[in-house]
Symmetry: C2
């Protein structure tokens, strides 16, 4: 069976193959499909990667850990992993979805990989799911751009847009509330193309800008 | 020791009390403080609650599971749990932070509870941390408003604002791209007060609006 090859690749054999079958069933095919498992798998993935990088980078700050994780866990990275595992050919689709190329769509590949992780968690417990995540993501740690460790979100956003020859963002203070010693700023980050607006709040204008930039940067990364 | 009382309340005894001590150290006090543990604890919490509600609500959709979790895991809920555990009095602060009431600030209480969960994960493994999360959150499941299961984000956002006598949001289509059979809509949700703008994309205007509303609703819930 083709899914046995998958199990060999990820190094996990299911006690209940029905769970794997569900994880590989797109909602266009039939019930039970994989959307609930994807919800579960998404948080297992984030949690396992958090543990992995927490241990691997004992000296980096919380902010850098978040950045590293966002860099590792995003649709593009997951879709590439799914392609390596040749997941697309194992997914059960409805006819229309298959005809329109669902088995190559990055969002579907990424979601299905998450669903498989959710299924492993239910089948074998968190430590087993974590083990699979660690084996999938450890090779990606080597390819990690060490620069992301030192760059703030505004810089990252600017470089992202510049590298694509897109217009730079504008930052607009939309509100400043509270008394002098305890002010709260709300700043909008407006990206002209792809059109995007995010809001950030903070105790200084700068920190509110950074927060808005972080959200914009993360949205741009997820959209791809 | 006061922290022994905490351990009894949460039903977990640390093998390495140093980890608990770090979890209870605010960054204003000294290094090592609890911010890295908080990063870890946040994802453990989300993951454990995902597992809890996945099992507890076998028939609800992925979207409803997300809504239920957002309702359970937010700053206010975490701060209340932290208060029940009398966490505030156990946190080590710098002098300034303590004087300005840090031990009662909801964001600090919520973050510290997350850090404690991160410490349990490192000390005893995921299953132990999960057990503590389940024991803390199971009582909250009873208080869950069953209505949130059937309400879409636009409705939830509208009701949230109405209940606070605030102006209703506007939805603005800012972009519609792609050909007729595969259009992508980008919609902004503009909340006048507290001033907030979020963006959502979707294959229909309605789904883009729902996504923008969902983000606005979640931001409003986190702000409190």
């Amino acid at each position: 069976m083709a899914s046995n090859i998958l199990c060999r690749k990820i190094g996990y054999a299911f006690n209940h193959p029905k769970l794997l079958r569900q994880a590989l069933t797109h909602r266009s095919h039939s019930l039970p499909h994989n959307e609930r498992l994807e919800f579960l798998g998404d948080s297992i993935l984030n949690c396992a990667v958090a543990g992995l990088i927490f241990r691997r980078f004992p000296d980096v700050t919380e902010g850098d850990l978040s950045r590293i994780r966002a860099n590792l866990v995003n649709q593009q990275a997951l879709a590439e992993l799914a392609q390596t595992l040749e997941l697309g050919g194992l997914i059960r689709f409805g006819e229309g979805e298959l005809k329109s190329g669902g088995d190559r769509r990055p969002s579907i590949l990424a979601d299905t990989l998450e669903a498989v992780l959710g299924a492993i968690y239910l089948d074998g417990g968190f430590p087993e799911a974590e083990r699979v995540v660690v084996s999938l993501f450890t090779p990606l740690l080597q390819g990690l751009d060490p620069q992301i460790l030192s760059k703030d979100p505004k810089t990252l956003l600017q470089e992202y847009l510049q590298s694509r020859r897109l217009a730079l963002p504008q930052y607009i203070v939309v509100a400043a509330t509270g008394e002098a010693h305890q002010q709260q700023f709300q700043v909008e980050c407006v990206v002209p193309k792809p059109s995007l607006r995010t809001a950030g709040t903070g105790a200084s204008r700068r920190s509110a800008e950074q927060e808005a930039a972080r959200q914009a940067y993360e949205q741009l990364q997820t959209q791809n």
